[in-house]
């Protein structure tokens, strides 16, 4: 992918900038689709029609929303801390977008094939958390402040089970590199980690060989439980229902971005949707084979069209990511909100002990097998 861009544009700054900006184009497009998905799916679940006036079946409603947000008056509350108030949306979005640098969109496109992969994704996520706190504090509004505090407390708590769940996969593969984790799951749907991981020896992208056999079926229940744990923690980390206490409309108006309007509000909104996609895509990379197709090969490879394979791989990854975003939307309109004590019970007394237990069992099995 990089060599293709270089051959078109030559080795210069422009190539690098375009290469870095490709995920941004994708995230922006995805946000439009996800916003439409949210309104339409909620409408259908409640036996309504949803937006119907802009375009056929209202499908260009998100574009109209963007135009509206662009034209809206940008209000900065007079008692707010102006500098931090204006800085917060950028810090939050930076934190969400920076994580996409390590996400392999296909075997040919990855911003930075880091050996640190998962660790990096978790670390830069914390920058966005500081952004939330900045927004909550600088708005000088009690709803924003409480929203930000709840949100940060929740994200920091649920980072532990989420990281632990991914650590279980890392214990098995012995690498933090996301590209390696995907390559380990090649060759068909039964090799995905959610179904117990690879069943035959594989050579990872970094050249290391991972030995595996059908005995790996013992991992199936463990990894399946791990996936559920990761997904629950991911819901809490992105403040989605049933963990949307930080944005509980009945108590807090709309949480940390209560005072924001216009484009700055849109940036928070984008960061939230980007985060949703990020955790979905990490779930699909760690447990559902990332860009691997369920039948183990690509149509491009079968008919001998080499450029088709990366495109297909990208479509598979996008499809899996979208599917998990869809599940998040689905849950939002299905489940009621948890209480704060239930939220903390879930994290500290259910997810964390169980994830530690599974990590011990998987570590032991990896050692003896």
């Amino acid at each position: 992918m990089e060599s293709l861009l270089t051959s078109i544009l030559g080795t210069n700054l422009l190539t690098t900038v375009i290469y870095c900006a490709l995920p941004l184009v994708f995230v922006l497009t995805y946000a439009l689709i996800a916003v439409l998905g949210e309104v339409k799916i909620s409408a259908w679940m409640q036996d309504r029609l949803g937006p119907m006036r802009t375009g056929p079946w209202g499908i260009i409603q998100p574009l109209a929303d963007v135009l509206k947000l662009l034209q809206k008056e940008d209000i900065t509350p007079s008692a707010s801390d102006k500098f931090l108030f204006n800085l917060a949306p950028f810090v939050t979005f930076m934190g969400s977008y920076a994580a996409f640098a390590a996400v392999p969109f296909s075997s040919q496109y990855i911003g930075a094939s880091l050996d640190l992969g998962i660790f990096y994704v978790f670390a830069v996520g914390s920058i966005g958390v500081v952004g939330l706190m900045m927004a909550g504090w600088s708005s000088n509004n009690k709803y924003s402040m409480y929203g930000a505090m709840r949100s940060v407390a929740q994200i920091v708590s649920y980072e532990v089970p989420a990281a632990m769940a991914l650590m279980i996969i890392v214990i098995y593969t012995g690498t933090l590199n996301l590209q390696d984790i995907i390559v380990a799951q090649g060759g068909g749907i039964w090799n995905w980690f959610v179904f117990g991981g690879p069943k035959a020896d594989v050579v990872l992208a970094s050249g290391r060989e991972l030995q595996a056999s059908w005995a790996n079926l013992v991992f199936l229940p463990l990894f399946l439980a791990t996936f559920v744990m990761y997904y629950v923690s991911a819901l809490a980390e992105t403040n989605r229902t049933p963990f949307d206490i930080p944005e509980a409309e009945s108590e807090l108006v709309s949480g940390y971005h209560t005072e924001y309007s216009g484009m700055k509000f849109a940036m928070f909104f984008m960061a939230e949707y980007a985060n949703m996609f990020l955790v979905s895509v990490v779930a699909s990379i760690a447990f559902f084979g990332g860009w691997q197709s369920p039948y183990g090969t690509t149509i491009g490879a079968l008919v001998g069209v080499p450029w088709l394979s990366p495109v297909e791989e990208f479509l598979w990854l996008a499809f899996k990511g979208f599917f998990f975003v869809f599940v998040m939307i689905w849950l939002r309109w299905t489940l009621p909100r948890l209480r704060v004590d239930q939220l903390m019970y879930m994290c500290w007394k259910v997810l964390i002990p169980f994830s530690f237990g599974i990590a011990l069992v998987v570590g032991f099995l990896v050692m003896i097998m």
Binding site: D115, L116, F119, Y120, S126, I127, V129, W137, K142, M145
Partner: protein, 171 residues
């Protein structure tokens, strides 16, 4: 000037600039938020030195842990209203003398030290595996001791938090 040089000056300026804000800002909140950019700048410098694991660990520990704890501390100790905690200047003369001596010593040390300077960086692609292997072989004992120390610290913190809860119930 290559890209690497440009990035070095960018990260150096970010680190020093935000560190100055941390030092001179009167508002504790501003200082805490400026610390975010100091940490990011230092992490950037680590990356330029090919210490990628250290850079990400820096962000994870300092931004994800310490900075957030710091912000929580500041926000929970002040009233949630706009009462701003500020720092003031006290003990002007003794402070100037002490800081002056410290600065002089540091400048002397930096100028006299023989720095082990390398012409080019060794060609390493990722330090994670190496660090992991060293931690679990050569440096296993210090690693385990650090682990036990942290565990004891966590349990101690939990005990302290608990005991205050009990006195409340008794009262």
């Amino acid at each position: 000037m290559s890209y690497t040089d440009a990035f070095f000056y960018f990260f150096a300026a970010l680190t020093v600039g935000s560190a100055l804000v941390v030092t001179f800002s009167r508002s504790v909140i501003y200082a805490a938020f400026a610390l975010l950019f100091t940490f990011l700048g230092v992490a950037g410098l680590y990356v330029l030195l090919q210490a990628d694991f250290l850079a990400v660990a820096q962000i994870m520990v300092y931004v994800g842990g310490i900075l957030i704890l710091l912000l929580f501390g500041v926000m929970l100790t002040t009233r949630v209203t706009n009462a701003e905690i500020t720092t003031g200047t006290v003990q002007g003369l003794p402070a100037t003398v002490v800081v002056g001596i410290l600065l002089g010593t540091l400048i002397l040390l930096v100028s006299r030290a023989t720095w082990n300077v390398q012409e080019s960086l060794p060609d390493v692609t990722g330090t994670t595996t190496e660090i992991g292997e060293r931690l679990l072989t050569t440096f296993l004992l210090p690693f385990e001791i650090a682990g036990i120390l942290l565990l004891v610290a966590i349990m101690g913190a939990a005990m302290i938090a608990r005991s205050t809860d009990k006195t409340k119930e008794a009262a």
